[in-house]
Amino acid sequence: MLLSLRYCLLIVALLVLLFVAALLVGHQTLTVPDLWLLVQGQATPLQKIVVWELRIPRNLLALLVGAALATAGAIMQGVTRNPLASPGLTGVVAGASFVIVLLVSVWSVDAHWLPAAGFVGGIGAGCLTFYLAWQGRLLPLRIVLAGVAVTALCAAISTALLLFSGAEAGDLFFWLAGGLSGRGWLQVEQSWYWIVFPMLLSFALVQRFNLLLLDDDIARSLGLAVGRWRLLFLLLAVLMTAAVVSVAGPVGFVGLVIPHISKRLLSQQHPFWLPFTALLGALILLCADLLARLSAFPQEIPLGVITALLGGPWLLLLIRRGLN
């Protein structure tokens, strides 16, 4: 208990430090005294706009995205008892991508509506996966297979659409690479409740979650309606993932890797394991976004590339050592 408290404090401290650092660096570098002036309201107008309208919302969005992906991944892996399950497992990411590609290339829909449409598309794909996998009950293996099919179908149609989107293709690839470049308050406003409320609900239902980690029969003997609760948790994960994809595009590996790291630091049965995982996810994503902003300055590396390069090798190592 004491150890986990120490970890939490350490992560929170790192989070605050990174948050402040991410406020300082960028096209115009600020110093800590600058920031102090800004808090007192004495900075230049440009500095004010840059910090309040660009860097703060972007950092907040990074925290939300990281926390949501990590939680969704943890739920997905726990509930399907598949250590390689990712938030995109249920076809949510591909579904959201497909709807956005469709709207941009065929109907040229206003950017304002894209996140909402992507969200609906993600949920739709998730539900389609559940429908296809449903056979009286929801078996983890069938969810995986149905998810693969839904993902493949969405990806194939997206490819065809990309081919005919002409000038918009470049834009779509920018979106498909995932990232927080140019995102701001608008995206935070559009997505925060879809992320925060499901996340809090999953934290509150931690006892049910811990039972679902066990074998189906054991959980049932302990009086849990396994099928119903599994579906509820999967829906929560789908909601969070769809909200994330619709504002930040497909950002891979976060939901896959973070739960494995947090499992090493804290027991999965610990009542605060899910919040701890979320915190860890927020920290890592903030870090990754900072790297994305700085490593190819003045261009930005897409966030999806950074997370793939950070998380991928780690996962490969994990597989090599043998997953538990």
Partner: protein, 353 residues
């Protein structure tokens, strides 16, 4: 214990051949019919008369060009590529004992895509000056080989990462999936960063398309087809045994590691050479082996022969469909394959208890 379907003492070769004569003839007829359809149908309408005249050398110019230089090489290439993907998928599924394995799963498609995108973008860097023409042309000319090299490298990396000789099928698949995901993220990232003025070209490649392919590509591919088919003949018996659990195979006395490595190399080369020429095409390698296993549930030899026939047939039909469905544009064969493949996959899923 060997399952009931696994025949260890094979029947004499002539017996298994004799019961193959009928189906082989049937499939040859189907293939020929499909080839004729591919030659006759297309964006430009040709009559049967014109095509018949072509053989009596009364037609020239347009008809000759369309049939000999556009439709025939494309149809043949489609057939060959279909064979490649089907056999590679069959070997990989047997080897990993996973019905969902195909060229995509070994990271071959992703590796090839990555090098292809780098090559296309790299070639464009030379496009400006006059004297650089040869360099850029050279890079584009070598695109099939470069992409193939990328696919082979990715597969080698996966083999090494999953423990080389000590690999287990499960670890192989997991490593493959993860590496493919990393590479795909890199492809999208590279395109998002630098591909802005070339996405139209690159998307065509990434979708898996036979547009613009001709005899040159056929010349690149046929040595691989030939050697792949030869290797598959050698692989028949070992594959039959590799379906079993590891310790059973060892007890039979098969050199497990060696044959598994050989089978992997064959599958990799088959898939990578095809991906290099037409780009990544999913689902063919997944679906065709399933169909073949249903048509002939027990005999590996028959299944492989069927893979050749069904793979060629389906891919030719898919390309034909893609060519005539939205004239004057084309639907890439990779997309058509997915449209055929996904419903089939779902059907399999529904049927599964």
């Amino acid at each position: 214990m060997p399952g009931p379907g696994i025949v260890l003492n094979e029947a004499p070769w002539y017996r298994s051949l004799s019961c193959l004569v009928g189906p082989v003839l049937l499939f040859l007829m189907l293939l020929l019919g499909c080839l004729l359809l591919s030659i006759t149908l297309g964006a430009s309408e040709l009559s049967w008369q014109q095509i018949v005249n072509l053989f009596t050398a009364q037609e020239s110019g347009h008809v000759e060009r369309v049939v000999w230089q556009l439709r025939l090489p494309r149809a043949l290439l489609a057939a060959m590529v279909g064979i490649h993907f089907a056999l590679a998928g069959f070997i990989l599924q047997t080897l990993t004992r996973n019905p969902l394995a195909d060229a995509g799963i070994l990271g071959i498609s992703a590796g090839a895509s990555f090098t292809a995108v780098l090559a296309i973008l790299g070639a464009s860097l030379f496009v400006s000056g006059l004297e650089s023409h040869r360099q850029s042309q050279m890079i584009l000319g070598y695109l099939p080989l470069l992409a193939m090299a990328g696919g082979v490298t990715a597969a080698g990396l996966i083999y090494w990462l999953s423990g080389a000789a000590r690999l287990t099928p499960l670890r192989l698949i997991l490593t493959g999936v993860v590496l493919a995901t990393i590479l795909n993220a890199l492809v999208t990232g590279v395109l998002a960063l630098w591909g802005h003025s070339q996405t139209e070209m690159i998307v065509e490649w990434l979708a898996g398309s036979l547009h613009g392919r001709d005899w040159q590509h056929l010349a690149v591919l046929w040595p691989w087809t030939l050697s792949g088919l030869t290797a598959c003949i050698l692989l028949q018996r070992p594959l039959n045994l590799l379906r079993l659990e590891d310790d059973q195979v060892l007890s039979i006395g098969l050199n497990l590691r060696l044959w598994r490595l050989f089978a992997l190399i064959v599958a990799t080369l088959l898939a990578a050479s095809a991906v290099g020429v037409v780009g990544p095409i999913g689902f063919m390698g997944l679906v065709v082996p399933h169909i073949c296993r249903r048509l002939s549930p027990h005999d590996v030899q028959q299944q492989m022969l069927l893979c050749v026939a069904v793979g060629a047939l389906l891919m030719m039909l898919a390309d034909l469909l893609g060519r005539i469905i939205i004239v004057p544009y084309e639907l890439p064969v990779g997309v058509v394959c997915a449209m055929i493949g996904v419903p089939f996959f779902l059907y399999l899923l529904r049927r599964q208890p």
